[in-house]
Symmetry: C2
Subunit: 464 residues, 2 copies
């Protein structure tokens, strides 16, 4: 029996019908040349036979229905792989729209706690001949970054590599580097709310003087932002059903916009696209707040302290970004976002890794608190929407010769945070995954059109 | 606000991830002549527009997360019909096997309590050109018999009738009789556990003398059975995932077997098929108890009391049937089942409707108790498996010219009752629907082969 860290069990404790606590990924593939109509079902048959399941994918909560006390893991020695590895199909006409509808439904149902907390679905029936995979794993097992890294390990840069192992296999190699994945690498990376939960633990152990430093730093960030977080339609109680929308944009288009504004980053352009899209979406629904929306943006930050450099030198900080959604002019909006991100990073300058983590926890604390059943949310939202940029693979990847054409993250809407935007890069594209509460975020797919319009508007204004 | 009867709210109170409390129905249809490849998606588009939703299908629990006190209904005035009415497809090769896998998955997920408690899924992609519908409704809204009756009302005996209304429409007529369904007919019929829950309420109000009569009658039934209920693999704690298997057999084959044994009913043949199939299944798994399995069989019983005749004259009684699974010879087994059913009905002879209901509640009480969260199950199983025969339509039915070729009920496995068998008749066939807990009842589909073998064995032994 392995006791579960408090930060992991929090995701089991906080889970309810209204608040599924799993992350997901949608991948699109082109079948290899010469693949017949039964290619996907044959692949499914082969994958179901890959029963050398690594320990992480055998874990299940020891007492599935416990709601108090600490959780422990047990191993499922009688794993029912046909339950976890599924084959599904799209109804006609098999457009991306039908794929997103199915993915939304799959992402909105709870994982079965009597079994290891993951599902993997092969999806056929796309009209353009591609197929998709949707994978779903509980946040208590893996966060989004780790899941993406593990997925990458199950793919190859070599289109001719055959007999590859699926993501749950204990024989999985890091195909890109050609090495075996070590067990202690699983669940290693931390980001977002998991970070916050960890940070709350860390803050509890901080000396009062350290807290004073953080308090000053947070005041600086707040003062620098010089605005208050408005209430918005995204900051409502949520229900269990989900809407998911996804699309990719060429990185070259985003790079061209970046070049036109000095000091801007690709991340700033991504945030400006989101800002413009959210502004258009909220105007359509007559729900745009007078004050600008504030995004929580997890960022990887280099720290200057020698001590933290020895520890690895990187830390995730949460930056509160003024999305300037009250500003109509796209260039002025973009400039304001770039400025807000620059100021946010400055606040962290010179802080230690622990201090960065602790400072990041301050805006996340109300959200982490809202996960605890029965805890009252006494504070207004510390931000309106979480926007994460998770680094993805640079090169074209393949599974058994099938080329992956896209990869889109599905994240967790939380109580009071009905919309999550997560983007990842892959092979020359920036891929957006938008996950929302079906009730609180109607017509989520319109945000895709608005993202395109928002990027086109920046191109028109900035590129001759 | 409408308060919910205690018997209805019991199904909401008892529901958990492990114990979804909805019933379902799987229907198969042949598209009309000349239907194109987009027939099903066009039908879906039309159905999603049928937003004249009757009150029953607008109801949702007022406080979805309450777990104590009485529930109340509220109306969803902002019904999201695209959420409730879904379009899905089978992966290749689109056999009945793929259909049953999808149906099992759909039946194993919880309904969203923030919305009216029903879903309706159109399923395309069967290799033989047919399409299917799977409907799912919470037991607190409708029991299986009422759901089947309502479904029948949404179909027509006329293959040329067009522009028909779906089951949730407020304009639904009883197409068979050509009349409008009255609101007070909804949720009228009672059977099985719902009956038990009602009966427990009724018993509480009975005079002690009446209880004495019942106690004597129950002793008689038990004595007549002259056996104890064994523990079996079906009487275990269950999990939330489901397996569903379904198949139809021509009524003519069953009638021929009945004719060969004097005094036997069609129901007796059905029970003998189940008995032989369960015996084969349990032998394969080396899990056949030495003592015979006992089935709980809900039966419609005519009562002799004038008072109950004035009230409608029919009551549902639960008969405990000795399935004689310890007997190898199929004819001896069949005879024993027929005898056990005859004795069971005799016990009820001369009892009033209320007495029948109360007597039926005695074996069901431990099951009803097990539904109450936290209630200890202090008694051994009162029976091993519930086998219900729900009367279905006699004639061929159509929806907008699409002929219904089969209809199969999906019921609720309960704690300690991991397998449910429900059969219904339709247009010359007897249709079996087997719903089991995925973990406790492995390889459920093998029972279909065993049902056929069991029928063939009776035919071989009894028909020259």
């Amino acid at each position: 029996m392995a006791m579960m860290p408090v930060t992991d069990s929090l995701y089991l404790l906080a889970e309810s019908r209204e608040h599924p606590m799993h992350v997901g990924g949608l991948q699109l593939f082109e079948p290899p040349d010469g693949a017949g109509p039964d290619y996907v079902s044959e692949l499914h048959r082969r994958l179901v036979k890959a029963d050398d399941v690594r320990p992480l994918f055998r874990r299940r909560p020891m007492n599935p229905v416990s709601s108090i006390g600490q959780f422990a893991w047990s191993n499922d020695n009688d794993l029912d792989l046909e339950y976890h590895v599924r084959l599904s199909a799209l109804p006609r006409p098999g457009r991306v729209r039908e794929l997103l509808e199915l993915t939304s439904r799959l992402h909105g149902t709870l994982l079965d706690r009597h079994r290891p907390l993951w599902e993997f679905t092969l999806i056929e029936g796309l009209q353009d001949g591609r197929f998709a995979t949707y994978s779903k794993v509980h946040h208590s097992l893996l966060d989004g970054v780790s899941a993406l890294r593990l997925l990458q390990s199950s793919l190859s840069e070599d289109p001719d590599e055959q007999d590859m192992r699926p993501i749950w296999s204990s024989q999985l190699r890091d195909n890109v580097a050609g090495r075996r994945i070590q067990p202690d690498e699983e669940g290693g990376a931390l980001v977002g709310l998991r970070n916050a939960a960890l940070a709350i633990r860390d803050i509890a152990g901080l000396a009062p003087t350290a807290l004073k430093v953080l308090d000053d730093a947070f005041r600086e960030q707040s003062a620098g932002l010089a605005f208050k977080v408005p209430k918005s339609m995204f900051n409502a109680a949520i229900t269990g059903a989900r809407r998911f929308a996804a699309q990719g944009w060429p990185l070259d288009r985003i790079k061209n916009v970046r070049k036109a504004v000095s000091g801007a980053t690709l991340n700033d352009v991504m945030l400006a696209m989101c800002s413009g899209a959210l502004r258009r979406y909220l105007i359509e629904l007559a729900a745009l707040p007078d004050k600008p929306l504030v995004a929580a943006v997890p960022m990887s930050l280099r720290t200057d302290s020698a001590r933290t450099a020895a520890e690895g030198g990187n830390a995730i900080g949460i930056i509160l970004c003024n999305l300037a959604t009250d500003t109509e002019d796209p260039v002025a909006r973009f400039t304001e976002i770039r400025e807000s991100m620059r100021r946010g990073k400055q606040v962290y300058h010179g802080l230690s890794q622990l201090q960065i983590t602790a400072l990041s926890a301050i805006p996340m604390a109300p959200l982490a608190m809202s996960m605890i059943p029965g805890a009252l949310r006494v504070t207004p939202p510390a931000f309106n929407v979480m926007i994460s940029n998770v680094p993805g693979p640079h090169n074209q990847l393949y599974f058994d010769g099938a080329r992956m054409t896209g990869i889109y993250p599905l994240s967790i809407p939380y109580e009071g945070q009905a919309l999550n935007i997560t983007v990842t890069s892959y092979a020359g594209n920036l891929q957006f995954g938008l996950t929302g509460c079906r009730r609180s975020v109607p017509h989520l797919q319109r945000l895709l059109t608005h993202l395109e319009d928002s990027l086109a508007e920046l191109e028109k204004a900035l590129i001759a």
